[in-house]
């Protein structure tokens, strides 16, 4: 029995007992009445001081646009069309500046540095590690990644500024709700399209720990910026080439779009699986205010998306690509017995690769490229050259990462390495479904503080990738006889 009068000896629990006692004496619904009072007062003050003159032209225009963008029949096609157009502009627009950068950094810069190394009397292994490993990898990453990012990010930010993202979240909310996830996952997924690590951090907007975990684990199915270039390049070289030249761009953009949409579908499927098994629970409700449309500020958007997003992501890629280049050069040139370490690895992984429509080279590339998805393609090229011993395509010789001057030369090289359309399709699928990059894995660990969930987030996509690619390869080979 607590004393009647509060004293310094009282504990917190005594106060709670007192509260319980007092609450019983009060009329019911204290909280509701208090909230009602606040609302009534707000309404009174607003009615006195706010004046609306006539029906607003802009308001009715916004209502119509909202109706169109969030309507069941027009909302989804508009979303997909917008994404397709953004991708198409990125693919078509990135080609030319990408070529310029490749000429500057690879065709001109690399021989220059080679000569410099000779002139400095560098030992062959040092110039190999520095110029052929470190410099070439970095230069490749810059010339392939910078132009698409410099187009994709500003376009995406413009849509964001305009106020389109909340409409996307609104459209997808119902679907996310049905698979037992939170509607805000649409927003974290969109962030993941820029960078999965950013997407994982953005899941903090989700309050329920269960739904937040689902959003974190499935974020990897949002194609990140490090994987867009792989998708785009393979789609252009292999799938665009199947179509007549006039349609090549459209076919390439269409196939990248298909992979991105498959990623969205897999997000739903895996969210559903998680919320029906290990992360059981009901979806919590949330209210999302559709903000008014605002004319995007063009110059500021360009500036911030170039500085804040493009250059930061690029810097990260370079930081990871440079050491990976050194590792690559080393495993290709260090001999264990008769063959190099890389050759041994490729041979060991070839059977598994064949089963899922890929090859040993690609799997080794994915292991080397764990730090950054961006360097998957350069690694594949370098390893292919070494294995096939193709010469004449890249004058620098085996074990050196190089830029093929045109896409068709790239196709020749990869065909020489035994690539088919099946390999290309499976690579695009595997690029969607494999482990997150090391930065993202680290971020997941930081956000969840759980080794178990980090492991789930890391290995679940690989399982998806093996199953999907294996199934595709099986059906493909069966159809092809």
């Amino acid at each position: 029995m607590p004393p009647a009068e509060p004293t310094a000896r009282w504990k917190g629990q005594d106060i709670l007992d007192q509260v319980e006692r007092l609450r019983l004496e009060l009329p019911p619904g204290v909280r509701d009445r208090w909230v009602e009072d606040i609302y009534a007062e707000s309404a009174r003050i607003a009615s006195r001081n706010v004046d609306q003159q006539g029906a607003s032209q802009r308001l009715s225009w916004e209502r119509r646009l909202d109706w169109f963008l969030t309507n069941r029949w027009t909302g989804f096609p508009t979303m997909i069309l917008m994404l397709a157009v953004v991708l198409w502009i990125t693919i078509e627009g990135a080609n030319v500046p990408s070529g310029w950068l490749a000429t500057l950094l690879l065709d001109k810069g690399h021989p220059l540095l080679k000569d410099l190394a000779v002139w400095l009397h560098m030992p062959w292994w040092l110039s190999g590690v520095l110029v052929d490993g470190l410099y070439l990898t970095t230069a490749w990453v810059i010339s392939v990644m910078l132009p698409p990012m410099a187009i994709f990010f500003p376009l995406f930010t413009l849509l964001e500024d305009f106020g389109y993202l909340p409409r996307v979240a609104f459209n997808l909310d119902n679907l996310f709700h049905r698979v037992g996830a939170h509607g805000k996952q649409a927003l974290t997924m969109s962030m993941g399209w820029g960078c999965n690590a950013a997407g994982v951090v953005a899941t903090r907007v989700i309050d329920s720990p269960r739904e937040r975990l689902i959003a974190i684990i499935t974020n990897n199915f949002a194609l990140c910026n490090g994987r867009w270039p792989t998708q785009i390049l393979i789609a252009v070289v292999f799938l665009g080439a199947l179509a007549p030249p006039a349609l090549a761009g459209v076919v390439a953009a269409g196939s990248v779009l298909a992979v991105a949409l498959l990623g969205v579908a897999l997000t739903f499927v895996s969210s559903w699986m998680l919320s029906r098994s290990v992360l059981k629970g009901e979806a919590s409700t949330f209210s999302l205010e559709l903000p008014p449309y605002r004319p995007p500020q063009l110059l500021r958007t360009l500036y911030t998306s170039l500085i804040d997003r493009t250059l930061i992501v690029l810097w990260r890629a370079v930081v990871f690509a440079a050491p990976a280049g050194v590792v690559l050069w080393t495993i290709c040139n260090l001999k264990l017995g008769d063959s190099s370490i890389a050759e041994g690895l490729i041979g060991a992984l070839d059977p598994l690769g064949w089963v899922i429509g890929l090859n040993g080279v690609i799997l080794v590339a994915y292991i080397v490229a764990i730090p950054a998805n961006e360097i998957v393609i350069p690694t594949i090229l370098m390893l292919t050259v070494m294995v096939t011993g193709v010469s004449g395509v890249g004058e620098q010789g085996a074990g050196v990462m190089f830029e093929t001057s045109t896409n068709s030369a790239l196709a020749t090289l990869l065909h020489g390495g035994g690539w088919t359309t099946l390999t290309a399709v499976c690579l695009m699928l595997f690029s969607l479904c494999h482990n997150p990059c090391s930065t993202t894995i680290y971020t997941i660990w930081k956000e969840t503080k759980s080794a178990r969930w980090t492991a789930v987030a890391t290995f679940m996509p690989i399982a998806f990738g093996i199953v999907i690619c294996g199934a595709v390869a099986l059906v493909w080979r069966w159809l092809a006889g």
Binding site: P6, A8, W10, K11, G12, Q13, D14, I15, L16, Q18, V19, L22, R23, E25, L26, P27, V30, R31, R33, W34, V35, D37, I38, Y39, E41, S42, A43, I45, A46, S47, R48, N49, V50, D51, Q52, Q53, G54, A55, S56, R58, L59, T157, D161, G163, L165, P166, K184, L187, A202, R204, V205, D207, L288, E289, P291, P292, R294, T304, I307, D308
Partner: protein
């Protein structure tokens, strides 16, 4: 110290802003702490950027300020630390966002709290403003997005609003920089004690409520003598807020202030 000759510039807000120094992330040695609160998507981050010169990512969707962001500016030799709180609709329910905002306003003891309102949605936004005014005397209302309101044919009577709320009201269109100067001036005046306000407080009209709150507040004072806003805590306890009850029972209530202490 006698003031030197008065030129019109001394009282003009435009001139004072020319002395505004945006300090970005230089947070040390702040003389005053200013909190920035408001509903989601009212342009808090835009105002934050305009005052600090930082480029915190702003986007036209709610919920993108995840935790609180901090920056600094200096005016007339005084340094101000500005804290951008996550957007919230009220201080009453208990999502994580709202808890960050509410704990800071209550226990971080900001010298000034700026409540940003969306001029096109005044009525809904006022709910939060009234709740903030319930717990602090040192608040400024910034009616942002007045350019947008104008496009919608909405006019807001700022003077009337200031009269009704009992605190300064600054109209602004922060995206184009309009009103930022006046806002800085008001913040400085309030922080320095030049402006003193008696904001509108709602009465607790439920019979017996006032007495019950007083009784609980007295107990709180006995157990946690240093904790401010005992009335507010008492009200939350009577409403049955589980997080507050937990904090009272476990004694963490006494630590809340340390957690949010303005360095």
């Amino acid at each position: 110290m006698a003031k030197p000759t008065l030129s019109p510039c001394d009282s003009c807000p435009v001139a004072s802003v020319s002395r505004l120094e945006r300090l970005g992330m230089k947070l040390s040695h702040a003389d005053f702490v200013v909190a920035l609160a408001g509903n989601p998507n009212t342009g808090k981050s835009t105002i934050f950027n305009a005052l600090t010169g930082l480029r915190q990512h702003t986007g036209n969707w709610p919920g993108k300020t995840i935790a609180r962001a901090e920056g600094a500016f200096s005016l007339d030799g005084k340094r101000y630390r500005l804290v951008d709180l996550p957007g919230t609709y009220s201080l009453l329910s208990a999502t994580d966002d709202e808890e960050v905002a509410r704990d800071f306003i209550l226990f971080g003891r900001p010298d000034v709290t700026v409540v940003v309102l969306d001029a096109t949605r005044i009525e809904r936004n006022l709910n939060l403003a009234l709740q903030v005014l319930q717990i602090t005397n040192r608040a400024i209302i910034c009616v942002n997005l007045i350019d947008e309101a104008k496009a919608h044919g909405i006019t807001v009577d700022e003077r009337g609003l200031a009269r009704d709320l009992g605190v300064p009201v600054v109209p602004a269109a922060a995206r184009s920089g309009q009103g930022v100067q006046e806002l800085v001036r008001e913040i400085a005046d309030m922080a320095n004690g030049t402006t003193v306000c008696t904001p509108r407080r709602l009465k607790y009209e439920v019979p017996g409520l006032r007495e019950a709150m007083d009784e609980i507040a007295a107990s709180l004072e006995a157990v946690y003598p240093n904790v401010p806003h005992r009335d507010w805590i008492a009200m939350r306890l009577l409403e049955g807020d589980p997080r507050i009850a937990e904090a009272v029972a476990s004694g963490t209530l006494g630590n809340l202030e340390d957690d949010h202490a303005a360095s």
